[in-house]
Symmetry: C2
Subunit: 231 residues, 2 copies
DNA sequence: TGTACATCAGTGAACGCGCGTTCACTGATGTAC
DNA sequence: TGTACATCAGTGAACGCGCGTTCACTGATGTAC
């Protein structure tokens, strides 16, 4: 390995250390992440961070990207650990993985799904990684649909044309060939998943539901019934 | 009116002005509300605020309480504006009122339902007002149930005993006499409502759903079907 | 009704803090000949 | 292999800012006799 690439490797290691330290700091500071605090933890002077990140916002962006990646990987791994043919198990595994990840990384979860950070504009790069989980869920539903296994619960409300159009566009972009009605319910499940995790992580269930784990699993099963994933 | 009570009235007016100004400031600063900023807007020196609020946290608490009240009132008024016998209309009216309020007051919504504010502990007083909306929803379902109008969608997943116990306790506290299965689905609707509004307000739907209003109404109707509110 | 005193709102200076960012610098590490 | 130069990481001081909170104070408003 040439001398130059040694320096490059040390550099990437440093970048990793900065990001790791910043993630730890997030856990105590919340979104009010401070460069000086990170530098302090590393044992470096604050200005030295500018060798690696041009500004605080760039560090934040890097953290957000990494968090999406971390969450997306956890969800993907959970789905892959289930039998390829058992779509309900895969669906529930994704849901549980999201919840577990959020419980283990509450501040990072807040960074991704909580209030927007004042004065910080998420750049475009953060849009694609944010879609991993919902794409995973849609893929699972698509597999069940393709296998002819989907038995959606009959509900009276029809899909409005405008919404159908929006869903159609998304389906065509992904080429999944899912019926709009199915994606509609996938989205309901997606909202339910993050709605419930957000309630739990942000303490909105405190004092009402004690058996949160059981409750979560139960709600996710209700949604799976609604979508019609085979038991 | 005695001289003393004039002074008292001026005082409460001042408290109102401070809160109103702070609410406006929230819209630009986000949760990083600054006392000095509020004082500047009022045209007063920062230390003068301490005549009215012992600390920044107390001002925040007052704002949170007021916001819950404002949201709760909007939801209650919306329900009351519908025929007492039309529970689906009342349910949907509450959902729409929550969305409209959130759209009109996004930062306050974030204050109530977004990431916890670093370094701020919500005191106990904020617990009760936070429950208004869900109690309203449960009440609507209870009315439909009492009238024998509820036709819940059949789903396979049974209610686990632990969750049933938690729900039973809540029902007994409120004395609503609702079956656990119904409250279970009310909670699903409650999560769906705030999950979807949070997605929308925090921009998580950008680039996917364009017809957000139609989509929202549609999703809320699906939930109403699930609970079994008569059309 | 008038006066002496008490209460209260608001002032302005100060304390101590932390922040993001810049800049000229020192040494160490790498590169070219 | 050795030397002169270029690159880069990290330093430390500084800038300019804003923050929450305290404190002794000035005047105005209210109270008691």
């Amino acid at each position: 390995m040439s001398a130059a690439s040694v320096r490059a490797r040390v550099r990437t290691e440093m970048i990793e250390e900065i990001k790791a330290t910043a993630r730890k700091r997030l856990a105590t500071d919340g979104a009010g992440l401070s460069l000086r605090g990170v530098a302090r933890d590393i044992g470096i002077v604050a200005s030295a961070l500018y060798r690696y990140f041009p500004s605080r916002d760039d560090l934040l962006t890097a953290l957000i990207l990494e968090s999406y990646e971390s969450l997306g990987n956890a969800a993907t791994r959970a789905a892959d650990a289930r039998p390829a043919g058992d779509q309900r198990a895969r669906w529930l595994a994704v849901c549980t993985a999201v919840r577990d990840w959020a419980t283990a990384n509450p501040t990072e979860y807040g960074l991704l799904y909580g209030s927007p950070i004042p004065g910080y504009d998420a750049p475009r790069d953060t849009v694609a990684p944010a879609a991993t989980v919902v794409l995973l869920l849609a893929g699972i539903a698509a597999d069940a649909e393709a296998a002819g296994l989907l038995r959606p619960a009959p509900l009276a409300t029809p899909l409005p044309d405008t919404v159908r159009g929006d869903l159609r566009m998304l389906i065509d972009q992904q080429g999944s060939g899912l019926p709009e009605e199915v994606l509609d319910r996938v989205f309901l499940g997606w909202t339910q998943l993050f709605g419930l995790v957000t309630f739990e992580i942000f303490g909105r269930l405190d004092g009402t539901i004690n058996a949160v784990g059981d409750y979560f699993e139960h709600q996710m099963n209700l949604v799976a019934d609604l979508i019609g994933l085979p038991a």
